[in-house]
């Protein structure tokens, strides 16, 4: 579970201080599905980067599963990113020269998993890319690239998947496919998911919507999620027994609760 207390972030732009976040208090329970919305410049990406351990807050404390993230060194943070979190970017951030399997296997290489290509293939099947295993990013559509990125976030079996505008570069149809993947990961596999968006209908997939404005939380409300049944491959794959990433990785199960 995630607990933020008084998180603030100040950037120096020239001689001026820009307050991107002003004292954010936020808790995220395991198994939640949450969207953070707000206009551009409201600080939502900054918040997501801090939660994802990609950036550090100027002030405040961040606890992840009871561990004070602010006290961790660079190497320990890398381990947290590698094992506890999965991050999905708006611009996908894939390495241009690697094919899908290698992209997805990459996080596993930093924790010494030996059968990682096998595990990566399972993760790619989970996002419905079993026919695109050996394609490079340039040979994939935007939606497919984002699904590779989701598989990469998923492959280490993190308890939490974070996403910064995951549908920001995608068309409407593809956006909804991607959201369907997230929703199923949350509902059927109990993965905690938090993402940033500025689109109301994307946020509508979640069960909790937090609104940000000028670096402060202005509302935090439960939401009745919208359901769509347009991703056949997902339900098909997810319902198959033995297609569990954790089974393949062979690690101990992470604590997980609804």
């Amino acid at each position: 579970m995630i607990r933020l207390k008084g998180i603030s972030k100040v950037y120096k732009v020239g001689s001026e201080n820009v307050h991107a976040l002003r004292g954010i208090d936020l808790e995220l329970q395991d198994g939640e599905f949450m969207a953070i919305i707000g206009p551009s410049g409201s600080g939502k990406s900054t918040l997501m980067n801090i939660i994802g351990c990609l950036d550090r807050p100027t002030d405040g404390t961040y606890e992840l599963d009871g561990v004070n993230i602010g006290k961790l060194n660079d190497s320990q943070l890398a381990t947290v990113r590698n094992r506890r979190l999965g991050f999905v970017f708006q611009s996908f951030n894939l390495l241009p020269r690697l094919n899908a399997v290698d992209q997805v296997a990459m996080p596993l290489s930093y924790r010494g998993v030996t059968n990682r290509k096998q595990v990566a293939r399972v993760a790619l099947k989970l996002v419905g890319l079993e026919n695109r295993m050996h394609h490079r990013p340039t040979q994939l559509s935007g939606g497919q690239q984002q699904r590779v990125a989701i598989a990469r976030a998923l492959v280490g079996n993190p308890a939490i998947i974070l996403a910064d505008e995951p549908t920001g570069a995608l068309d409407t149809k593809t956006s909804h496919d991607v959201m369907e993947i997230f929703r199923r990961l949350n509902e059927e596999r109990g993965v905690t998911i938090a993402f940033v968006t500025h689109e109301r209908d994307i946020a509508a997939y979640t069960r909790r919507i937090v609104s940000l404005l000028d670096g402060e939380i202005v509302s935090d409300e439960p939401n009745a999620p919208v359901y769509r049944q347009n991703v056949e491959t997902m339900s098909h794959v997810l319902s198959q027994p033995g297609q569990n990433v954790r089974d393949s990785v062979g690690g101990p199960p992470a604590p997980r609760s609804e």
Partner: protein, 441 residues
């Protein structure tokens, strides 16, 4: 990641940007091959000089015409000041204390020079050096005949067309056959302009061994005046010219006095007045040694500096490409960190990439450099003499000598450049928070 995986990752990364990889390697190849060729030339020249000194024998002094060059009779005449056989005889006749023997010598150019000497037997050709000398040569140079006889006083007086072959010339022209009594044509000069006479072989010299670069085994020895007095261009109206008078001394400590005595004799004989410069030089072996050492040092410094400059130029090339490639790849570093790469994972990756490129390029450079020395081998003397022309010395019969020390130094330098300029920027990028690295486009 285990080591083989790290290397595989590096190879994939290098292959995926093949142009960048090749450019980096090009810098290294140029640098390393330059180092190899130049240091090989330097080592070869040094070895040549060292061998020549080693071949001189001990307790020797030389008197040479003042031009300082070992020359043919032809050149001596052309240049005016000359030493004559009579000068040599006068030194001998003076019975200076400490002198153990005197032998005048006229040397024709050796192999590799247009005005070189060729020995021909039944259509068999070999490039060699002709030494015209006196019977005392054996004793003075401590270099004796092995078969047959040496040149006699009688041969000198009669200007006889007889010759004693060096071991190598005998081998080249006769193989296992007995050469004594056979006729050999000895010619000086290029092709159709060569002037030659037929000599009868009377002996074969002992083998001095192949260590010497002025190959003492590759000579034909003739009575001093025999060739000179017959060749129109070599004839001097004032007598038989010599390019060098070899003097054997009993005791090295007497050399200064001997020098004074000889100077006295020769100045008188050459009618030099007070204030005139000597038209000859007297050198002892230790003089030659110190000059040669000096030349050696200058040459080494010269060549090593050129080599270092090329290595630095190559290094700047590597540096440039590495720096560009790392800033290009800051984003990759960000992505890798975002999915859990530690700083040391990033460093290891870049280090291995840099090592693979520099070592592979370095080995190619070694191959190219070695190949170049093979191609240039033929003209070694020409190249080295071109390089050291200003030093007023020359080298002949030398080889490029590739020293492992410089090969390793070159490889180490390129690996170091690759590591410093490939890994340092990567280390800086790896220190950034992932989001910082990702923001850089």
């Amino acid at each position: 990641m285990n080591p083989s995986e790290v290397v595989m990752t590096a190879l994939i990364a290098l292959r995926s940007n093949i142009l960048r990889t090749l450019l980096t390697m090009l810098g290294i190849i140029i640098g390393i091959s330059a180092v190899i060729v130049l240091t090989a030339a330097g080592q070869g020249a040094q070895k040549g000089v060292a061998d020549r000194i080693k071949g001189l024998g001990s307790n020797l002094m030389f008197v040479q015409p003042a031009s300082g060059k070992t020359t043919t009779g032809v050149e001596v005449i052309a240049q005016g000041p000359a030493l004559f056989l009579d000068d040599s005889r006068a030194i001998d006749a003076a019975q200076i204390e400490g002198i153990d023997g005197v032998a005048a010598q006229g040397t024709a150019p050796g192999p590799g020079v247009p005005w070189g000497t060729t020995a021909i037997y039944r259509g068999q050709n070999t490039s060699t050096t002709m030494i015209g000398t006196e019977p005392t040569y054996q004793y003075v140079r401590d270099f004796y005949v092995a078969e047959g006889r040496f040149i006699t006083e009688d041969d000198i007086n009669r200007e006889a067309l007889v010759t004693v072959l060096g071991a190598k010339v005998k081998e080249e022209l006769f193989g296992d056959k007995n050469p004594i009594g056979e006729s050999v044509r000895i010619a000086i000069g290029p092709g159709n302009y060569a002037i030659g006479f037929t000599f009868t072989v009377v002996g074969v010299m002992e083998e001095k061994g192949a260590t010497s670069s002025v190959d003492q085994d590759n000579v034909v020895i003739t009575p001093l005046p025999s060739f000179q007095r017959r060749a129109p261009m070599a004839r001097n109206p004032h007598g038989t010219t010599v390019s060098q008078v070899n003097i054997k001394v009993t005791d090295g400590s007497k050399i200064p006095q001997i020098k004074l005595a000889i100077t006295d004799i020769l100045r008188k004989r050459h009618d030099l007045r007070e204030g005139d410069e000597d038209d000859f030089v007297i050198q002892s072996q230790s003089d030659v040694l110190s000059t040669a050492t000096e030349v050696d040092r200058t040459l080494s410094v010269l060549l090593v500096s050129i080599a270092l400059i090329s290595l630095i130029v190559g290094g700047i090339g590597i540096m440039n490409i590495m720096l560009v490639s790392v800033s290009e790849r800051t984003r990759e570093i960000g992505i890798r960190k975002a999915v859990g790469a530690k700083r040391r994972d990033i460093l290891l990756q870049f280090m291995v990439e840099a090592l693979v490129v520099t070592l592979f390029g370095g080995l190619l450079g070694v191959a190219v450099g070695t190949g170049l020395t093979q191609i240039l081998q033929h003209d070694f003397d020409y190249h080295v003499n071109l390089l050291i022309r200003t030093l007023d010395v020359s080298v002949s019969g030398g080889d490029y000598v590739i020293t492992p020390k410089w090969v390793l130094a070159g490889l180490a330098m390129s690996a170091a450049t690759g590591l410093v300029f490939g890994v340092y920027p990567a280390w800086r990028a790896a220190r950034l928070d992932p989001i910082e690295a990702l923001r850089r486009e």
